[in-house]
Amino acid sequence: MQRRHPSGLASIIGSALAVIFVLAACGGAGDQKTAAGAPSAGSSSGGADLTGAGATFPYPIYSKWFADYAAKTGVKINYQSIGSGGGIRQLTEGTVDFGASDAPMTDAELAKTKGPVLHVPTVLGAVVLTYNVPGVTQPLRLTGDVIADLFLGKIAKWNDPRIKALNPGVSLPATDVLIVHRSDGSGTTYIFSDYLAAVSPTWSAAPGKGKELQWPVGMGGKGNEGVAGQVKQTPGAIGYVELAYAKQNNLPYATVKNASGAFVVPTIASVTAAGAGAAASLPPNTDFRVSIVNAPGADAYPISSFTYLLINKTPADAAKGKKILDFVKWALSDGEQSAASLDYAPLPAAIVTRLSARLDSLSAGPTS
């Protein structure tokens, strides 16, 4: 085969094709840098009017909103749920029209963006503690400092006197406590650690709050399903997952004592109540980058948080900017109605009113 004489023309054409192919392949490989963290960023935006990227937690409700909005107005929105960090990176690089994040952007992150960014809370999420304690059938009652000490490794047995005191009449076994946390960076971890940092000075000093932490004890599971799977299988385990995930999978979860001293079951209503409790103390010119963990209010579930859309206040493309604003206004009025059906807590009315006023001032002119 090696000795066969190739026909001249055919070999020229063949080699030319090979060169073109190789050039194309190499050129394509060099362009991947901007897509860091985004497996298919930009490639699937064909035909869409707007593209966004970010948090995975609100993805189900966002995709429902986008579908409903497209059916109503014909405006197509493409959203890639690549994680909050990726959403912020892509918004900063300007490869998407809007971002989405579970945790508000830090000042350092905001400093790197091309223009001012408005945080628009869309729905609320909550983090619940799920556990596998043999013999316990009713929901466990926990307080912030007990949760912090469990996750700090200071409470090592389930029959610890402090847990017993909170749960009179419950027969707690002498089993070891096994902590299961998220191993992947996640907004869920951010909300949970934000809460622990708010209620425990020790936690605030040592692991602190973030999407990834140096956990004092325990082991990591990937995703909500990884944590839930390990908790379900291991007697004595306790971990944290999103409320929606726990509800949809019928996991047991604890009631937690809130700032007003009441033990609150995490429900859609109690999470919205947390938003309402925090809304009362917002300053008039707030940028909505607020933590609502341990919020005041008798019915407020303490481990709650907003999730945000991140939009440019001064978009380069004014037409696109208007389309985004129109969508956000629609989402806050009509979209919120369908939130509860997908286990998301809708925004409290007080927040919607203030947000609408802010958005109106934005669409009036780019001066705000």
């Binding site: 055919a10 020229i12 994680g83 960076g185 140096q214 325990g218």
Partner: protein, 348 residues
């Protein structure tokens, strides 16, 4: 792919072979004057062809070098800041920006070692059975099924591990090793048995690398000349002695090549390991304790890493993984070369 790679492994690297000379074959020179135009076209064609092929061949190593440079540049801030302690420190604290990759390096090496320790004897056993003992009707189906292990997606292995392997490990295997066999006195088998652990990761990896090693070994064994076996049998060797003394030494370098292929797979495997290793950045002698690997650390944290130093630290981990893989492969190449040289001397 593996089938094509094996014979060349034994005959030396394909690049060592004399390449096609860019000149015309001897038969064509005689017709040069008569068919001038056609020949000239062929000369140009050959030149272009050679250039294209060379470019093609260089494109792959260039890509590799570019990737290495890119990762190194991205990881440089972390490597520069932490220096050598990046390789020795066990801290991994994204909140305060303090990073050390020692637990992940340790976990990568230990889980891969466990995987090879279990998979290598099994895979070679499978290969010997299929090439030497199995009747023809059994050989193809069994070989096909073993190869099929390589086609199972990594995440499926992970799910199987979570729902089947971990409960078995926790309720049966770990207590058996620790208490019934009293291996708990050794540090390797001590401590509480939760399931997710270095042992679980090593076990799942051993299943995942097995088809690679066995497939390569099988092809190599099948390529051993019949005369090799017949000579041994003629000298009065038993079947066992024939395989041990005549077939395996002949195939040794190829089998080591297969093990290296498996090792490469084990070092880089991400998803299944992440789901089973417990993702705790600590160095523990106990195989029952959770650990971490470099690949799973990157996979877990990259998508949400927002701080520059954090991202850079993850890139630096990627660079370390790259270098370790390179070293392992270089050592393996050297080993294959040593083995094929010494066995070559023995043959001669």
């Amino acid at each position: 792919m593996t089938g094509a790679a094996v014979p060349s492994e034994r005959a030396g690297s394909p690049l060592d072979r004399p390449t096609i000379p860019p000149t015309l074959p001897p038969g064509a020179t005689r017709g040069r004057r008569a068919l001038g135009v056609r020949i000239q076209g062929a000369v140009i064609g050959d030149r272009v062809y050679t250039a294209a092929i060379t470019f093609f061949a260089l494109c792959v190593p260039m890509l590799l070098i570019l990737i290495a440079i890119e990762i190194f540049i991205a990881g440089w801030p972390a490597l520069h800041k932490f220096g050598f302690s990046f390789l020795t420190s066990s801290a991994w604290d994204p909140v305060n920006g303090n990073f050390g990759a020692a637990p992940a390096i340790y976990g990568t090496l230990v889980s891969s070692t466990i995987a090879l320790a279990i998979a290598t004897p099994l895979a070679i056993g499978v290969a010997i059975f299929l090439s030497e003992f199995a009747p023809q009707w059994l050989r193809q189906p069994v070989a096909f099924l073993v190869d099929l292990l390589a086609a199972v997606p990594s995440v499926v292995y992970g799910l199987w591990g979570i729902f089947v392997l971990l409960p078995i490990l926790r309720t049966s295997v770990m207590p058996f090793l620790r208490d019934t066999l009293h291996l708990g006195v050794l540090p390797f088998f001590s401590g509480p048995a939760y399931g997710p652990s270095m042992l679980a990761a090593g076990l799942i990896l051993s299943i995942m690398v097995l088809p690679y090693i066995s497939s390569v070994s099988r092809e190599v064994l099948l390529a051993v000349p019949r005369s090799q076996r017949e000579a041994a049998l003629a000298l009065g060797a038993t079947k066992w002695e024939t395989i041990w003394g005549a077939v395996l030494p002949y195939a040794k370098s190829g089998i080591i090549g297969g093990v290296i292929l498996g090792l490469g797979r084990a070092l880089g495997e991400t998803m299944a390991v992440t789901m089973l290793i417990g993702n705790r950045p600590q160095i523990s002698a106990s195989l029952f304790a959770p650990g971490y690997t470099m690949a799973s650390l990157i996979a877990n944290e990259f998508s949400e890493a927002s701080g520059d130093l954090h991202l850079s630290a993850l890139m630096a981990v990627g660079f370390v993984l790259f270098v370790i893989t390179l070293i392992v492969n270089a050592v393996a190449r050297w080993l294959v070369w040593q083995v094929s040289r010494s066995s070559g001397e023995k043959m001669a």
